[in-house]
């Protein structure tokens, strides 16, 4: 891909879009004009209405046999004007009076005999003036009630405090900035997300379906540019415009809000706009993958349409769909939980909300950024795939849906990076939404379900469906004997080193006690025989996880990345799949070594064997099957976290290196396979 060409396309598309009124309205018109207009004129109108209601006296009717007493009470109230209509309730319904006071029973007698008189106020809750009338009447009656109570207590010779045994008062201790942050945290994410969507909306349509409709796509395709360069240039434009729209909106909202606060401060004094700079940085960082994701999804939808209008009707539902997860995040009791970190859109909204009101765990921030980026890459991959189809890009009279028929996929020796990414994401999502539930409900059987049902089965199904040669993709080849020997040596060395790494990690990033307890309970399930634990916790992951990571993911990436990037990517993906940040580092390191073994031996079996031996070592050391002679050593070095002696660490490193040298000596060459 030529970046100069991408830049030429991007520059032209940006110029083209900035000459389009619709883009300018979405990007500048709405934020710069609409917000101030809505906020300022809206609040001005509300204040004018409030003043009008406050200055006019409330028209009130009285329905009572002894109306004169009530009239006496209310005559002193300047804000209440008494009226005497024939049908007070009809007048109230018509809005000509604002409240009706209904007195039941004999007021004079009730008061004299020390009973409570029954007074009911009829009002119209939909009318602001009526609400104001009720407020004024309640204030007047409450004042009268206090006088009457005081008289009664004096008559009975009871001190006034007798009826107030508790003096309860309340005081708001929340800092003034916090109130503002709560309000911003709830209101801003949905607005921001929708604004990103609106920012991407017209450019995504105009640069795909619009271009198709205007007949300029073919002109562009006749030039020496690849579909990836065209897509990248166009995507970059949509992304930048979406981001600019989002940021313009953010700036305008904050400015308008700050202006409003400055006006309100005298009245209320509880709002103050001050955000920690770190939160602002994280929000802007999270906006990038979010804008990336929304732009890519919108482009892949828009390119399917044959005309501007059809694209609008396809994209409008998506714009509305964006509202649901962001609206859900605005519910006060909802926060960023582990599972919510992986729900696109909602994760950003919740992260924003939580950042405004509380400290957010760095792991959560990383997960939100990471998952949104992964979704964005998938969306872009889909867009690129659609873009390469001439029947879609050049269709003039009909839009074609993205075909997912199996016959559409051509047989291939290994998965594409997109398929590998899809399998990884699928397994990760299944693990989160089904695996964690299955493990909490079914204990050790939940792990069986996760490994075989959520890792192995979906991977094999996807590879089969997209017509990938399983034998080649999963490296199902028996390696030569020398490779087996090298694998065993490496496994012994690495099993020892990884135990030492876990001790070091425990000192830097201690494993949470409750999680450790859960793990111990799982591994030490007394009801299960030892061999069963080995099958479930060592053999199953060795087969299933290797098929996913060293099979599908590795084969999908191996021709597209240099070796070091390949090891890092597959290793990190393996680490991420272990969910917890406490397990991620160590598993990622093991993942890198396992990737090396499979890549070098061109066979998945050395990976499986090493994975099995590492897991088995862990299970044995946690179990009661450790020989008595070495039990004190294990307790001291691992359980009490003193670590291995240096000579043992050095020996393990030498063994590991020797194993790698052996592997380099015996590895099969390309011709041999």
């Amino acid at each position: 891909m030529k970046f100069h060409t991408v830049f030429v396309i991007f520059r032209k598309e940006l110029l083209d879009m900035l000459r389009d009124k619709r883009t300018l309205i979405a990007m500048l018109g709405i934020p710069i004009v609409l917000y101030p207009a809505l906020f300022i004129f809206g609040s001005q109108a509300a204040m004018m209405e409030r003043d009008r209601v406050a200055q006019a006296p409330s028209r009130v009717a009285i329905v009572a046999d002894q109306a004169d007493i009530l009239e006496d009470w209310l005559h002193g109230e300047q804000s209440v004007a008494l009226r005497y209509p024939g049908d007070p309730e009809a007048e109230l319904a018509a809005g000509r009076i604002q409240a009706v006071v209904v007195l039941e029973g004999d007021l004079q007698q009730d008061l004299e005999e020390g009973r409570a008189a029954q007074i009911t106020i009829l009002y119209d809750a939909t009318d602001t003036a009526s609400q104001e009338a009720v407020k004024r009447l309640l204030e007047a009656f409450n004042a009268r009630e206090a006088d009457l109570l005081k008289t009664r207590l004096e008559d009975a010779g009871i001190p006034a405090d007798f009826v107030n045994p508790l003096e309860v008062s309340r005081e708001n201790v929340a800092p003034s900035t916090r109130t503002t942050q709560v309000v911003l945290g709830m209101l801003m994410p949905p607005l921001m997300i929708v604004m990103l969507g609106i920012g991407a909306f017209y450019p995504a349509i105009d640069l795909t379906a619009g271009e198709k409709e205007r007949g300029t796509f073919e002109t562009l395709l006749s030039t020496p540019t690849s579909s990836y360069e065209i897509l990248s240039g166009k995507f970059l434009t949509v992304f930048i415009l979406a981001l600019l729209t989002g940021l313009t909106n953010l700036g305008s909202m904050v400015a308008t809000f700050a202006f409003q606060l400055a006006q309100l401060q005298g009245d209320m004094g509880v709002f103050e706009l001050r955000l920690p700079i770190s939160s602002v940085v994280v929000v802007i960082l999270a906006l990038l993958p979010l804008a990336f994701f929304i732009s890519a999804v919108m482009m892949s939808i828009a390119v399917l349409a044959r005309s501007f209008r059809e694209a609008q009707s396809l994209l409008t539902p998506f714009l509305l769909i964006l509202l649901f997860p962001s609206g859900y995040a605005a519910v006060p009791s909802v926060h960023l939980t582990t599972s919510m970190q992986f729900v696109p859109i909602a994760n950003f909204a919740l992260l924003f909300k939580d950042l405004m009101t509380s400290q957010v765990d760095p792991q959560s921030i990383v997960m939100v950024l990471l998952s949104t980026t992964v979704y964005a890459c998938i969306a872009l991959y889909v867009a690129a795939r659609i873009f390469r189809r001439e029947d879609v890009v050049l269709s003039e009279d009909r839009g074609l849906p993205l075909t997912l028929r199996r016959s559409f996929f051509r047989p291939r020796a290994e998965p594409t990076p997109g398929i590998a990414l899809f399998i990884f994401t699928l397994c990760l999502l299944l693990l989160f939404y089904v695996g964690t539930y299955a493990q909490s409900e079914l204990a050790v059987w939940g792990i069986v379900v996760t490994q075989w049902g959520l890792f192995l089965l979906p991977t094999l199904l996807v590879l089969w469906y997209v017509r990938v040669d399983l034998r080649n993709a999963l490296s199902l080849r028996l390696p030569p004997a020398g490779v087996w020997l090298a694998t065993l040596v490496i496994a012994v060395g690495w099993a020892t080193l990884s135990l030492q790494f876990s001790v070091w990690q425990q000192k830097i990033l201690p494993f949470p006690e409750d999680l450790a307890k859960q793990m111990e309970e799982l591994i030490g399930l007394g009801n299960q025989p030892f061999w069963f634990l080995i099958l479930v916790l060592a053999l199953s992951p060795a087969i299933c996880e290797e098929v996913v990571f060293r099979g599908a993911v590795l084969s999908g990436l191996r021709r597209h990345l240099p070796w070091w990037a390949l090891f890092l990517c597959v290793g990190i993906a393996f680490g991420v799949a272990h969910i917890s940040i406490h397990r991620m580092i160590l598993t990622a390191l093991s993942g890198i070594l396992l990737t090396y073994l499979v890549w070098r031996s061109r066979s998945i079996f050395p990976g499986m064997l090493t994975h099995f031996l590492i897991n088995t070592t862990g299970i044995v050391l946690q179990s009661e099957h450790v020989p008595e002679s070495i039990q004190p050593f294990v307790d001291r070095t691992l359980k009490e976290e003193q670590g291995f002696p240096w000579w043992l660490i050095a020996l393990a490193a030498i063994v590991c290196t020797a194993g790698i040298l052996l592997m380099e000596r015996f590895r099969p060459h390309r011709e041999a396979t």
Partner: protein, 262 residues
């Protein structure tokens, strides 16, 4: 601009098609054959005319040559570059104009040419020089600073022709270049095609206007129902059908085709 041309223009055909076939999916997913087994070549300095009724497959064939779409079977070479394997190199050698290659309405004529020049990897000063030459020869100067969506049909077609010639490609693929134009603009464009032939460009173009084909073409291919029924010089086609114009040649071949058993 044409440094990548790996062959000598005088030695080998600039356009070579072998067994080109294109199938599309019909409304029910059934294959519809738009072009069947098209085999021909065009040399440098030659104008090859493609004649046929609407739906004959001319545009599809030209789109395959321009590497806009991929053939279902067969192969073509543009200035020696295999179009399927090296589409970008092939496109560098081609100027393609069809009814579907429109202009960007919000760009000015000059901006349009600058953009396409850059996409062809030309330097800005070379683009500016070439733009001035083309604006002069195509009489485009009065509207170079106007947005393309404000241009008349004739002006639009002139900008399109300038876009096609900007990078001075050795191969021109023109699909009905004079369709809907007034006689003055048509004449200007036909003159340009003849001038390109003089400068040893290989030109393949389709048209409904038999007089244009008679005026311009060295050889003619007659397409009907996706097949090239006949292909030869005009003179030989006249002799074979015992006629003296392409209109009658075409009808003779269509009748001959219809008489063949299915």
């Amino acid at each position: 601009m044409n440094q990548e041309n790996p062959i000598d223009r005088d030695m080998a055909p600039m356009i070579r098609a072998e067994g080109l076939r294109k199938e599309f999916s019909g409304p029910k997913g059934e294959p519809v054959v738009a072009v069947k087994n098209a085999t021909f070549s065009v040399s440098a300095g030659e104008i090859f005319g493609l004649l046929g009724p609407n739906g004959a497959g001319k545009t599809t064939l030209l789109r395959m040559l321009a590497t806009i779409i991929q053939p279902t079977a067969g192969q073509c070479w543009i200035a020696g570059h295999p179009a399927s394997q090296a589409p970008e190199q092939a496109r560098r050698q081609v100027g393609f104009l069809s009814g579907n290659t429109k202009l960007y309405g919000r760009l000015k004529a000059r901006e349009m040419l600058l953009y396409f020049g850059r996409l062809y990897g030309m330097r800005d000063d070379a683009i500016a020089r070439r733009t001035e030459e083309l604006a002069e020869s195509l009489d485009m100067k009065p509207f170079m600073e106007r947005r393309c969506d404000t241009l008349s049909t004739g002006q639009t077609q002139k900008v399109s022709i300038a876009r096609v010639l900007l990078h001075d490609p050795p191969v021109l693929i023109l699909d009905e270049p004079t369709l809907g134009l007034d006689i003055m603009t048509s004449t200007a464009i036909l003159d340009f095609i003849l001038d390109a032939k003089q400068r040893q460009h290989s030109i393949i173009f389709s048209t409904h206007y038999m007089t244009e084909a008679e005026l311009l073409c060295d050889r003619v291919g007659l397409m009907y129902s996706g097949e090239i029924m006949a292909m030869d010089t005009k003179q030989r086609l006249y002799e074979e059908t015992m006629t003296d114009n392409l209109h009658d040649v075409f009808l003779a071949f269509v009748h001959r085709q219809a008489a063949l058993p299915a």
